[in-house]
């Protein structure tokens, strides 16, 4: 899978960021707005930080967010989707109505509200992403759980006296694993995009070195696109983001085809 190869490169860059980056991304290693040079291959940003170093360290934020937020999303979605699908009844109705409401809510105001409630920072950003994304995944997981619940071996485990926790842990979640892997990867892709979007909107930790924030600061410079500065300041983080999101999406689609050829996505 070429997607995994590219993802591995991203992970390596993130892990080896202190070795690879020429400067501390927070250090004022040059004058503001330097053009590319030997000392600063991608120039410097508006306060004189090395853009290449920012870019390399930015992979860390994106991947941490991808990992944590997607796991948070899938954990929440699994908890709620599997509980609703498995237990059914009024709980299912209540949870799914809640999901419907959350899905119907406009995202942007919800984002801003959550950001206001939770404050800025990477953990908050991760929490916001997880809180935003779980409903859609929960719905898919619920549908799958419902069909699993009708499977004989799960009915038998329940009949034997297997409690909800046991059946979920032993049967439902393992049976959901391929779907969860898919949701995880797709949520990771969306999380990367949303983190960038949040950083871009200024919701989040403004001192973090993330690609979204790099783009935000670049675009904050009036007339950036009128000159050639965007070539080394805006384009690299945008390209990295696009590549990472595309990579994760490709892996997700690959997983979907491989493990769940008959899986029906949202009806």
């Amino acid at each position: 899978m070429p997607g995994l190869g590219i993802l591995t490169i991203f992970v390596l860059v993130a892990l080896l960021a202190p070795v690879l980056a020429p400067y501390d991304p927070h250090a004022l290693s040059g004058q503001p707005l330097e053009r590319p040079s030997a000392a600063h291959p991608l120039g410097t940003n508006d306060i004189g930080q090395d853009i290449l170093s920012e870019l390399i360290f930015g992979a860390r934020i994106s991947l941490i967010v991808a990992l944590a937020a997607s796991m948070g999303t899938v954990a929440l979605a699994t908890l709620i989707g599997a509980a609703a699908g498995y237990l059914g009844g009024w709980l299912d109705t209540a949870l799914m109505r809640g999901v419907d409401v959350l899905l119907a809510l406009p995202r942007l105001p919800l984002l801003i509200l959550l950001a206001a409630l939770l404050g800025a920072g990477l953990p908050q950003t991760i929490a916001i992403i997880a809180l935003l994304f779980w409903p859609a995944a929960a719905r898919t997981i619920r549908a799958q759980t419902q069909s699993l619940r009708r499977r004989g071996y799960i009915q038998m485990a329940r009949q034997l006296g297997g409690g909800t926790g046991y059946v979920l842990r032993r049967h439902i979640v393992p049976a959901l694993a391929p779907l969860l892997a898919f949701e995880l990867v797709m949520a990771a892709g969306r999380a990367v995009a949303l983190e960038a979007g949040l950083a871009f909107l200024g919701i989040g930790d403004a001192a973090a070195k993330s690609w979204g924030l790099m783009m935000r600061f670049a675009l904050n410079l009036p007339g950036l696109l009128l000159g050639d500065r965007w070539l080394w300041w805006l384009l690299p983080p945008a390209a990295c983001l696009t590549l990472l999101i595309l990579t994760l999406t490709c892996i997700g689609i690959g997983l979907e085809e491989r493990w769940q050829p008959r899986l029906k996505r949202r009806p």
Partner: protein
């Protein structure tokens, strides 16, 4: 102040837009003079023979996108909000491109020999937007209403007014409690005259937000206001007492990159405070664009809450901070050199009362700062942690750089981010240890030092210092306001600036130089009003320039 962009939500869309934008600079014939556009200049030569058909600006599109409140006398926020309300409401006097006080609703005025009573003669034939005549009763009512509803309406020291009375049909006498040097600029100029027949019934003006709340006598009528989009749309009041305004329509519309928008002719002008380089302005150095610049009258300040239980209650810690913060570096990096370092005296170089001596009290000296901290019983290497409240709409780089600089002296910042409205409220309530707050008006009357820092000041607002009390400062502050002689008043203010620098209730960090970039083909009468309009607002949006199309006087360009 920053204008937060309204970028596309999804990053992919950003990238798509980015790709589209790649082509934009080449496609835009910015540097090339366009073929004769159907705009004003074409009509101008005909005016000599034909009936006077004034060449007016049909619409002026300006940068919006931020909500500054409903432009009623009690609904707006800060300077930009005041500006938007000032298009609807007039005042007794106003000021022109040169900072000169000019007649407005009042045609003339005189002050009594004891310098306590100011008598204004009202202009004839002024009508409210609803057609009712504006009378002396409205003026008397307005001053009384503002005095009643708050001691400091938009920080105008209206509490120094003892009484307002009608003198005959056309005159109003305003009696002061003491001789008040900045009366015209800080009271008569900013205080809106509002229609008595509407507001006398209003119990809670803050909650009065209907269409009647924006009935004024001003040159423009509010057509549309969108809180969510921060959009304001005005149309000219053709019954205006000066005649039909030169600019017929004002639009504050949301845009992304202001420079790009101007280059693409989506807007007709933008202004920027600090953070401007020649490279950035390069696309606008040729016709039809023009650039106007002015020194800084808007400053970013680090306020210390002296009534709070924190390390900064100790003046040595504040001084250590002042020595540590490299204000020149802030100007160089945050403003890209387009601005000046803050003066611990509290007034910027652009203010006529600026005392340069206050500027040099705290050279950048980390060793000195560490010595001061040790003096204040903080051991070497012991971390001093201070909460820093700041607005998320301010430049986030500032906090980043401040944190990095203060860390050199062993001072750690604990950031407390807030949105602008929450920050203003926290500032007003004194709910902070250290506060980053920016505001303009610094080029205006220096009485602001009294209002913000004297313990006797009754001013309420985000620029009011907390917990600071200096007997000498209070005394000088109360004296200077009545000193009508410039030299005498400056001497007092020089001393006051030195006291502030010594005591440091606040540390001004930098002043943003200002630029306005505009398309002169659409409208060319852009300027920064010296000292600011409406009591010190440093923006290039003085209504005088839109009404008259000229730098001074009350004649409208092109009108007979």
């Amino acid at each position: 102040m920053s204008h937060p962009n309204r970028p596309s939500f999804l990053i992919l869309i950003v990238i798509a837009g980015l790709l589209a934008a790649c082509a934009a600079p080449t496609a835009t014939p910015a540097p090339v003079a366009p073929e004769a556009a159907p705009t004003a200049p074409a009509a101008a030569p005909a005016s000599s023979t034909a009936a006077p058909a004034p060449a007016r600006v049909k619409a002026l599109r300006l940068v919006g996108g931020t909500d500054w409140g409903y432009p009623s006398p009690f609904g707006f926020n800060r300077g930009p909000g005041y500006t938007r309300a000032s298009y609807i409401f007039d005042t007794l006097v106003w000021r022109d491109r040169f900072g000169q006080t000019i007649p407005w609703l009042a045609t003339e005025w005189r002050v009594s020999d004891d310098n306590l009573t100011w008598t204004f003669t009202l202009r004839d034939g002024v009508k409210w937007h609803d057609g009712k005549p504006l009378t002396v009763e409205d003026v008397v009512f307005s001053y009384q209403y503002f005095a009643k509803t708050g001691s400091g309406w938009f920080m105008a020291p209206i509490s120094d007014v003892a009484s307002v009375t009608a003198v005959g049909e056309r005159q109003v006498a305003i009696k002061l409690k003491r001789p008040f040097a900045p009366f015209l600029t800080t009271i008569a100029e900013p205080v809106f005259i509002i229609p008595k027949h509407i507001w006398e019934k209003v119990e809670d003006p803050k909650k009065f937000t209907g269409p009647e709340a924006v009935i004024g006598s001003g040159p423009y009528k509010l057509i549309q206001y969108s809180k969510a989009e921060g959009a304001y749309l005005y149309e000219a009041n053709d019954d205006y007492f000066l005649g039909k305004p030169y600019v017929q329509r004002l639009e504050f519309i949301p845009v992304g990159d202001v420079a790009l928008a101007l280059a693409n002719r989506q807007i007709d002008a933008f202004d920027k405070f600090g953070g401007v380089t020649d490279e950035m302005l390069a696309p606008f150095t040729k016709a039809p664009f023009r650039i106007g610049k002015a020194p800084g009258e808007w400053g970013m300040n680090l306020y210390f809450n002296l009534s709070a239980q924190s390390p900064i209650a100790d003046v040595r810690v504040r001084r250590a901070i002042a020595h540590t913060v490299d204000r020149d570096a802030l100007v160089a990096r945050l403003l890209l050199g387009f601005g000046e370092p803050g003066s611990p005296g509290g007034l910027p170089p652009a203010n006529p009362f600026y005392n340069p001596a206050a500027q040099t009290v705290y050279p950048h000296d980390v060793a000195q700062a560490k010595a001061l901290l040790r003096e204040a019983d903080y051991a070497e290497g012991q971390a001093v942690t201070i909460n820093l409240t700041y607005s998320t709409s301010d430049n986030p780089r500032l906090v980043e750089m401040l944190a990095a600089q203060l860390a050199e002296a062993g001072i750690a910042l604990k950031p407390v981010p807030m949105d602008q409205a929450a920050l203003d409220a926290a500032a007003q309530a004194g709910n902070y240890d250290m506060l980053l707050v920016g505001f303009g008006g610094l080029g205006g009357d220096p009485d602001q030092l009294r209002r913000n820092f004297a313990s006797t000041s009754k001013t309420v607002g985000f620029s009011r210092a907390r917990g600071y009390a200096s007997a000498e400062f209070d005394k000088l502050a109360d004296e200077q306001v009545s000193l009508l002689d410039f030299a005498a008043r400056k001497a007092a203010l020089d001393r006051m600036q030195m006291i502030l620098a010594q005591d440091l209730p606040a540390l001004p960090l930098y002043y943003t130089a200002r630029v306005v970039v505009y398309n002169a083909e659409v409208f060319d009468n852009w300027y920064f009003t010296p000292g600011g309009y409406g009591g010190g607002i440093p923006m290039p949006f003085n209504k005088h320039q839109f009404i008259t199309g000229l730098e001074t006087g009350l004649k409208i360009k092109g009108a007979q």
